[in-house]
């Protein structure tokens, strides 16, 4: 790995683990290898959002050309958000693309992702299905996002009604996650979700 990238990540890693946000359990960073090329990030769901109380894990890959190119970041934890793919965890965030600047750090990236959870940008979506629901059915969106946070991110808020619908489809022989995706996509309409799963 290029000299500058490795040295900078070492410094940034120390900067993050000493930061105030880590002390307050808002963000976390772990090394996955000794070369500082792969890291695991963690952000807490911000208060007053459907992600509140959840813990979201991120996969961070440092390119050889860092910091002249941004780190590659995606969500490992499944999440229902207009700017994050519910299938792959890919993120649509300008600073991870053309708005990256060499002065940004892993700490600013983690904090920006946390900010993205508080303020979605549905007009620049990564997941068109979620973005449509966000715009047209805001309350269904919030319930769905809360449910996903409970199931995948250890969130504290149960959505019993939605869980019952997932169980109903499971009872019909569908795999749990697929059933959840179909229901979430079809605004929790059982009939449409079933058609969606069969088609």
């Amino acid at each position: 790995m290029a000299n500058i990238a490795a040295q900078r990540i070492q410094r940034e890693f120390r900067e993050v683990i000493k930061s105030e946000e880590v002390a307050k359990c808002h963000i976390k960073l772990e090394l996955k290898n000794d070369e500082y090329t792969e890291l695991k990030g963690e952000i807490a769901g911000p208060p007053d959002t459907p992600y509140d109380g959840g813990v979201f894990q991120l996969d961070i890959i440092i390119p050889e050309t860092y910091p002249f190119n941004p780190p590659k970041v995606k969500f490992i934890t499944k999440i229902w958000h207009p700017n994050i793919s519910s299938v792959t965890g890919a993120i649509c965030l300008d600073i991870l693309k053309d708005q990256w600047a060499a002065a940004m750090t892993l700490r600013t990236v983690l904090l920006s992702l946390q900010a993205l959870l508080s303020a979605a940008e549905p007009d620049d979506p990564q997941d068109a299905v979620v973005a449509r629901q966000y715009k047209e059915q805001q309350s269904v969106f919030r319930q769905t996002a809360k449910h996903w946070t409970y199931i995948y991110a250890k969130g504290p808020h149960r959505e019993a009604e939605l869980e019952a619908k997932v169980s109903q489809l499971r009872g019909m022989g569908f795999e749990e996650h697929k059933a959840r995706v179909a229901l979430s996509t079809c605004d929790w309409n059982i009939q449409r979700a079933t058609d969606h799963l069969i088609s």
Binding site: N3, I4, Q7, R8, R11, E12, T65, P67, F68, N69, D98, A101, A102, A103, M104, T105
Partner: protein
């Protein structure tokens, strides 16, 4: 005995004068050279932009070469112009 300073003439300072004490690109101290150089000093000079931000010349040149679009300061995103 009390000493009163009547006048003070600064003859020089060893510290680099800059907005911060580390380069925002490589995060090394300005007293040290960038990670691609071995010895501090003239080999790895500092440069300032018109926005007043300061970097190792090697670092800012690499950044300007790597950004496809406009040439922006990596700190403040204003258009980067070398200060004469």
């Amino acid at each position: 005995m009390k000493v009163k300073i009547k006048s003070w003439t600064a003859v020089g300072t060893w510290e680099w004068v800059s907005n911060d004490d580390t380069c925002g690109i490589c995060r090394m101290s300005f007293e040290a050279c960038c990670p691609d150089c071995r010895t501090p000093g003239d080999d790895c000079p500092l440069v300032w932009g018109e926005c007043t931000h300061c970097f190792h010349i090697h670092c800012i040149v690499k950044w300007l070469q790597s950004s496809q679009q406009q040439q922006l300061c990596p700190m403040c995103r204003q258009e980067w112009k070398f200060k004469e």
